[in-house]
Structures are given as structure tokens and as C-alpha cells.
């Protein structure tokens, strides 16, 4: 197996071996060879111009990246292309012919396919059934499962997807599920594949595998449109980049002729310091103390006698290849999973078996990985979501009754502080763009001013400008004397923020690195070495 982090790093700068020859008509304007051409796309939402006259041209066999800050209009543009939303103005040409989709079904028929951010799979069905669903090969009236299996296996083989056609989807890891989504598109003969933030939920190794697949697709003359916030991925994968800002095209760049800094500046309109490393803070007494914490799974322990301390004014980062107990450790700490042994104290108070409310009272705040399901109530308003956890005490509640005016004021204050792009605090939180949703939850939890902040993937789906903002806030929070326990799949984030890094492997803390010792290569080796070490 390749080492995930170093593998990823190698893709970063020099290793663009698979770069295709730049197509002749690169740039804008009508070109007869364009696979996808969008002209003057306009889309309004109440109070927002999500798309404001966008032109986008993509050639056959090209990998085209779409970048932009949260709320710049990327997802909106892609859902218009895919027929999920109707543009207010503008024309779309596919393979040179003008189209006007009213539903994704029509877009599929025209050779488009989209992998949505949340997967749309049937967990109880097999890979084959998921792929052929709605277009089943038949023999004598019944589904021809043998033919279906053969076809799926053949596609998986041809495009190097490595998916077992017979496996039940429920048992597949996230990265493989995503490849099932891609198989679905290929089975429907999609020539244009749209992927909206496909790597947000993947581990570095899975990301590398996905990129190999996408390169293979491009080599087979499939066109790939990918939305992402990760500059490194854009540099490693794409042929061209279109940058959106406030619903308009801010730049069109050829990847080979640009730099991450140039893209970042086009996105935000200012120079951005990438991968900044923050100085150490003033460290105080212990806030979180964990001794011998154990969580058992089937057969082997998921968390195996973990002991660690997080002190005031300190950020402790947890790194590791996904599935080595990080999730379970955090769940046990915040009270979502009963531990099977050990002791947890927050600010000296034993909360090992305490319910969530008691932990919060002891001084714990938590930003979960899954912002949509665990972190918020998607159908409730932005204001109500921001009020959660504050709803029992003054000033939001007076004499047992919630004060709507105070809830609104509270929401407006946090929206301002965290630069959330939102129309009205009364709108449901689900209308926010992905990155803004994340900021709402982070803002709420930090506003609790708790002694200990446990935060998972704080910048997943967040644009680079806001990443910098969030990082600065986390450091500011630390410098105000709080303790932070950080879990992140982004190595640069872990390295940039942490005073100490704990590398987890098979439920144990395998390595501990100090701020000075950690760089991406060493951390990568520690993770990989730990992953390959003896049990």
C-alpha cells in the first residue's frame, strides 16, 4: 500500500506526469469543440444573486476545477447544469447543441452525470443493484442479474475502480461508495461527470485513489467538472480552473501556468498566507484529563487505554489514518458513546459516565464532524440553531420563556462575528451553502466560552479565506486560556495549529510529536508507520 500522506504530497508540486496537451481553444468564448458551454447564466434567490452572468467552457477530456469562496455560487451553477434548478437567464450547450433541462433525468439522457455531496445510494442493495437501478438489463421479464454483474464488473475493470459488484453497499467504506456513484454515471454512459466537493469526506489515501480514477476517465475522453476548496487538489488534478466570486467569474486559469497563491488571490481578492504556522501559546494547568480510556468494539478494542491531557492555552491535535479510533475516542469524550473503562475529567470534575448536559455544564463544547446531522437541526432556522445550548439561560430565556428578540440579536451578532453569508436569520439553516453552515456551528460552540473545545474537521468544506479566519479564531480562543482538542484529516491544519500532536493507531496513541518536531513528511511517516506496525 502507498503511504497516504506522502503520496498526497508527491502529487502536490512536481508530479503532474499525466498532464494532457492543452486543448487548442483554451479560454473563453464559443468553440466548436466544447463539451460543456454555459453562457451568461443568471440565478437569483431572495436577497442573493447566486449566479450573475457566468460563462463556463469545458473541452472534451478535460478536468476542470471550479473554485470560489463559500456562497460564491458553485453548487448553484452545477445544479443548473444538471437540470435541478432553472436559470433565470443564460444558455447551455452540450456537445455544441443547445439544451434546456427541466429535470436531472433529461440531463442524464444528454450524457451528464453528477455525484452529489451526500451520496444517493440504497444501503441495503448490492453494488450491482445500485448501479443498474432504473435501467435494469432484463431477460424473460426478470432482471438479468448475471448480465448486470458482468457489465458492472467490466466497467469497474475498464476504469480501474476496483469495486466488487456483489458487495452490499452498507458495508462499503465512504471512498468505495463514491466510486459506486461514479459507476452509476458510467453505466448510464455519462460523458460529463460533475463532482461537488467529492474529497470533503475522503481520507488522503481515498482521495489519491479517486484522482487516479478521474485521470483514467479523462484519458477515456470523459469530461470532469470538479468543485473543491483544496488548492493542492486543484494543482494536482485539473487542466484548467475557473474561479467564481460573488456569482461572477473572477478568473480563468490554466493550471500548469498558475500558482496556488494566484488562485487564492483570485478567490478572495486579497493575498492569502497559505499553510500558516502559528506560534506557541502560554500553557496553563490541565483542563481535560483522560486516563486509560477504553471503548470496546466487536472483538478488539476501538479505543485502547488512551491517556492524554489537554491544558489551558494549548491545542492538541489528533491525527491518524481514518478508522483508528479517533471517532470513537471523541464520542466517548463528549458523551455520545459509553466508555468501557478509564476516567475522563474536565476541569477536575469526573464526567466519565456523565450525560451530555452535565459535560457541557462542566465546560465542554463540541463541534462534530457531521454538521448536518449531529451538529444542527437542518430544518430549523439559522437563529434557532445558533440559540441551541444558550436557550436555557438569560438573556435568551427570561422566567422560563424564550425571548425571540434576544434570539435574533444573538444570531445577528454571531453571524457578523463569523462572517456567515446568510440572507435572514429566520431562514432554515439548510439554505446556507456548505461552508457557511459549518461556520454557524463553529460560531455557536465557540460562543459558549467553554473551558474545553472539542472540534472535529473545523474547516471541512470551508473556503481558504475562511479557513484562515477560522484558524485565527481558534488560536485566539486558545490564547484566551481555553483548551482545544482538534481532530482533522488535513495534515497542514493539524501541523499549523497544534502545540502537540497525538498520532492514533489501532485505538492507541502510537506517537506523540511536539510542535517543533512536526512537519508534513514526519507526520505522514508517523501515521503510515503506525498504521503498518504490528498489532
Amino acid at each position: 500500500m502507498t503511504l497516504p500522506p506522502s503520496d498526497d504530497g508527491a502529487r502536490g508540486e512536481g508530479a503532474r506526469v499525466a498532464a494532457k496537451t492543452p486543448r487548442p481553444g483554451a479560454g473563453t468564448g464559443a468553440s466548436a469543440s466544447a463539451e460543456v458551454e454555459m453562457r451568461g447564466i443568471v440565478k437569483h434567490f431572495p436577497g442573493v444573486r447566486a449566479n450573475d452572468g457566468i460563462d463556463l467552457t469545458v473541452a472534451p477530456g478535460e478536468i476542470h476545477a471550479l473554485m470560489g469562496e463559500n456562497g460564491a455560487g458553485k453548487s448553484t451553477l452545477m445544479s443548473i447544469l444538471y437540470g435541478m434548478q432553472r436559470p433565470d437567464a443564460g444558455t447551455i450547450l452540450i456537445g455544441g447543441r443547445e439544451v434546456s433541462f427541466t429535470s436531472p433525468t433529461q440531463a442524464i439522457a444528454a450524457g451528464l452525470g453528477m455525484v452529489h455531496q451526500g451520496f444517493k445510494l440504497f444501503p441495503s442493495l448490492s453494488v450491482t443493484d445500485n448501479v443498474v437501478y432504473g435501467r435494469e438489463p432484463r431477460r424473460r421479464g426478470l432482471i438479468d442479474r448475471a448480465a448486470a454483474r458482468r457489465k458492472v464488473a467490466e466497467l469497474s475493470e475498464r476504469f480501474g475502480l476496483g469495486v466488487d459488484p456483489g458487495a452490499p453497499v452498507a458495508e462499503l467504506p465512504v471512498g468505495v461508495r463514491q466510486r459506486v456513484e461514479i459507476l452509476k454515471l458510467l453505466y448510464r454512459d455519462a460523458r460529463v461527470l460533475i463532482l461537488d466537493e467529492p474529497t470533503a469526506v475522503l481520507t488522503p489515501a481515498e482521495t489519491g485513489a479517486l484522482f487516479d480514477v478521474l485521470r483514467g476517465l479523462a484519458a477515456h475522453d470523459r469530461t470532469v467538472l470538479i468543485v473543491t476548496h483544496k488548492l493542492r487538489e486543484v494543482m494536482a488534478l485539473s487542466d484548467n480552473v475557473t474561479v467564481l466570486r460573488d456569482g461572477r467569474v473572477a478568473a480563468r486559469l490554466r493550471t500548469a501556468a498558475t500558482t496556488p497563491a494566484e488562485i487564492a488571490e483570485a478567490m478572495t481578492g486579497r493575498a492569502i498566507e497559505l499553510d500558516r504556522r502559528y506560534p506557541a501559546g502560554a500553557i496553563g494547568g490541565p483542563v481535560l484529563e483522560v486516563t486509560g480510556l477504553t471503548v470496546r468494539g466487536e472483538g478488539r478494542p476501538l479505543v485502547d487505554r488512551v491517556s492524554c491531557t489537554v491544558r489551558a492555552g494549548e491545542v492538541v491535535g489528533i491525527a491518524g489514518v481514518a478508522g483508528n479510533g479517533q471517532t470513537e475516542l471523541i464520542e466517548a469524550l463528549v458523551g455520545l458513546r459509553p466508555p468501557d473503562g478509564g476516567r475522563v475529567t474536565v476541569d477536575g470534575r469526573d464526567v466519565t459516565d456523565a450525560p451530555v448536559a452535565a459535560r457541557r455544564a462542566a465546560g465542554l463544547a463540541y463541534v462534530p464532524e457531521d454538521r448536518a446531522e449531529v451538529g444542527s437541526a437542518p430544518d430549523a432556522s439559522i437563529g434557532d440553531n445558533l440559540a441551541m445550548g444558550f436557550h436555557r439561560a438569560e438573556p435568551l430565556t427570561v422566567r422560563g420563556l424564550l425571548r425571540p428578540a434576544a434570539v435574533r440579536a444573538h444570531a445577528r451578532r454571531l453571524i457578523g462575528e463569523f462572517g456567515v453569508k446568510a440572507g435572514d436569520p429566520a431562514d432554515p439553516v439548510s439554505t446556507l451553502s456548505g461552508g457557511n453552515h459549518q461556520k454557524v456551528i463553529l460560531g455557536r460552540e465557540m460562543a459558549h466560552d467553554a473551558r474545553l473545545l472539542v472540534v472535529e474537521q473545523p474547516t471541512r468544506g470551508v473556503d481558504i479565506g475562511s479557513i484562515q479566519n477560522i484558524h485565527a479564531r481558534l488560536i485566539g480562543y486558545r490564547d484566551a486560556g481555553h483548551a482545544i482538542l482538534l481532530v482533522s484529516a488535513e495534515l497542514s491544519e493539524i501541523i499549523g495549529l497544534s502545540d502537540r500532536i497525538l498520532v492514533m493507531s489501532e485505538g492507541r496513541i502510537a506517537t506523540e510529536l511536539d510542535r517543533g518536531e512536526a512537519d508534513e513528511r514526519r507526520l505522514g511517516l508517523a501515521m503510515a508507520g503506525a498504521a503498518e506496525g504490528p498489532a
Partner: protein
């Protein structure tokens, strides 16, 4: 109590209405519609079967009328819960209450009687033989000489099983129930499949009612389904909405009902016999949820699972 052929034959008769209704319920469940109006639908089936048979003089036309009327009645659930997105539980309860009142009212207006209608002239379905089977000892006594709808219900189980697992529409129906948004994204109409499932449950409940009113007995009495539709709802749960599972669950209830009937003849109070199927229902539900719980608990942390080693895979 020996399990003799007569007892099994009577169990088969008793389970058929439950089985037919439960198959309909299972289709709905698979399509993502929780159908608790089986009881009301079956009652409508009973009444329309008797009415059809009485006025046409043919039991088979009675069955046809029952199917047509009950399928039409099930449209209420389809339109309400699928198109108008009303709560299927509330709607189902309303339909069950409506069916009781409506059939009692029509009994009075159409037949001019209260409580029950029966007449020697009313044509029932009678029994048919299975060629070749009737002469086999024991087996012939159990399986032979049943109403044609009994045999039809077995065919229905097989057809439903093959349909769900191997037919394209069956696969789509299951997908619609599991992740409607995913089905929609692949161009499969959720509405169409849910309508089809609900209407099919209407048809099957029509057959169930016809079997009850023209097969098991030949009469209509107010509220004559007396909870069989509810037992069918339970059978759907116990059988995990799979045709063969539903058959096994219905078989359990059929045997209990037949046993209760037999014991009543030997001095068991009628109330105890009547209560038996519900008692079994409760016990079965309890056992199946306890087992499922144990299995779920064992998944994240097996330490917390109830000590039920046999059920842990």
C-alpha cells in the same frame, strides 16, 4: 392436543385473509408507505363481496366487486398519503373507522337488516379439489378442498417474492421505499410506485375480505374482520415485509386461531379463545424487538448486548 389434518385445514382457512392482507401491507411497507388501514380495507372487501354475490348470484362476480370496491377505497390512502403527504397513520385510523361505520350503514340501507346478513340463497365460494392431491392421505385432507382463494394466496406469495427480488419493478419499489431521493435522482417516480403498492394492497385486501365473507363463512356481519387486519399489520412487521416471512407469521396466527376454536369446543371460555391471537401477537412482537435490539446493541459495543448468544450472528 394432536395436530391433525382437520386442525391444519382449519388453520389454512383462518390464515388466508390475514396472509392476503399482509402481503398488501408488505408491498406498501417496501414502498415506504405505512399501511395500517388493512383492517378497514378488508371489511370493505367483506361487504362488497357479499353484496356483489347477492345481487349477481355469482360468488365469483362477488369477488370481482370486492376487488374493485376495495381498490377504489384504497385510493383514499394513495391520494392522501402519497399525493397530499398526509400522515399515513392518521389517515389509516380514519379509514378503519370509516369502514366500520360505512359498512354498518350500507348493511341497513341495502339489505334492510342490522348486525348481520345471511341467506341460504347467498352464494359462497365453495371448495375446489386439487387434482391428484385430494387422494393423498393426510396431505389431501389438509390442502385439498379449500376455497380457490386459498390456493390463489399461495400463488400470490410466490409471485410477490419473485417480483420483489427479481423483477425490475420490484427492485425499483424497494429502492423507492429505502431512499426516495436516490430513486428520484435516477428517474424513477416515487409517486407512481407508491400508488401502485397502495392500490395493490387494496386489491389484495379485497380478496382477503372475499375469502372471509364468502369462503370461511357465507355471510356479512358488522365488524366481521374483528382485528384480522391489525394482525396482518403485525404479520408485516414480524415477517420483515418479506413475502415468505409474512407467510410464516400468518401461519402462526392461523394455527393459534384454529387451536383456540378447537379448544373452545372442549370447554375453553370463548373470551379466552378470542384473545389468544392477540396474546400471541404481543408475545411475538416482544420477542422480535428484543432480538433486534440485542443485535443492534452488539454492533457498536458488544459488552452492552443482552446475553443472547444464540441470536448473535
Amino acid at each position: 392436543m394432536p395436530i391433525d389434518a382437520e386442525l391444519l385445514a382449519s388453520a389454512l382457512r383462518a390464515l388466508t385473509p390475514i396472509l392476503l392482507a399482509a402481503l398488501g401491507g408488505a408491498l406498501c411497507q417496501r414502498a415506504g408507505v405505512f399501511n395500517i388501514s388493512l383492517e378497514g380495507m378488508m371489511l370493505v372487501g367483506c361487504f362488497s363481496a357479499v353484496t356483489g354475490s347477492w345481487f349477481t348470484g355469482s360468488a365469483w362476480l362477488g369477488v370481482l366487486v370486492a376487488v374493485a370496491a376495495t381498490t377504489a377505497f384504497s385510493l383514499v390512502l394513495a391520494v392522501g398519503s402519497v399525493s397530499l403527504k398526509a400522515d399515513a397513520i392518521v389517515l389509516g385510523v380514519a379509514m378503519n373507522l370509516l369502514a366500520v361505520g360505512l359498512t354498518a350503514f350500507l348493511l341497513r340501507t341495502v339489505f334492510g337488516v342490522q348486525g348481520a346478513f345471511s341467506d341460504p340463497e347467498l352464494k359462497g365460494l365453495g371448495a375446489v379439489g386439487l387434482p391428484g392431491l385430494d387422494d393423498v392421505p393426510y396431505v389431501g385432507d389438509v390442502l385439498g378442498g379449500q376455497s380457490p382463494l386459498v390456493y390463489l394466496s399461495w400463488v400470490a406469495v410466490a409471485v410477490a417474492a419473485v417480483f420483489l427480488s427479481r423483477h425490475a419493478w420490484g427492485l425499483r419499489l424497494r429502492g423507492v421505499g429505502e431512499r426516495p431521493d436516490a430513486a428520484l435522482s435516477l428517474g424513477v417516480s416515487v409517486t407512481k410506485y407508491q400508488y401502485a403498492a397502495v392500490l395493490a394492497s387494496g386489491t389484495l385486501c379485497g380478496l382477503a375480505g372475499a375469502q372471509l365473507a364468502l369462503g370461511n363463512v357465507t355471510l356479512f356481519s358488522e365488524n366481521m374482520t374483528s382485528g384480522r387486519g391489525w394482525i396482518a399489520v403485525v404479520a408485516v412487521m414480524l415477517g420483515r415485509a418479506a413475502p415468505v416471512g409474512v407467510l410464516l407469521a400468518a401461519l402462526l396466527f392461523g394455527i393459534v386461531e384454529a387451536l383456540g376454536f378447537r379448544l373452545q369446543g372442549q370447554g375453553l371460555p370463548q373470551q379466552a379463545a378470542d384473545a389468544a391471537p392477540y396474546l400471541v401477537t404481543l408475545v411475538a412482537l416482544f420477542l422480535s424487538t428484543a432480538r433486534r435490539r440485542a443485535r443492534r446493541a452488539s454492533a457498536p459495543a458488544d459488552e452492552h448486548a443482552a446475553p443472547q448468544p444464540a441470536s448473535l450472528g
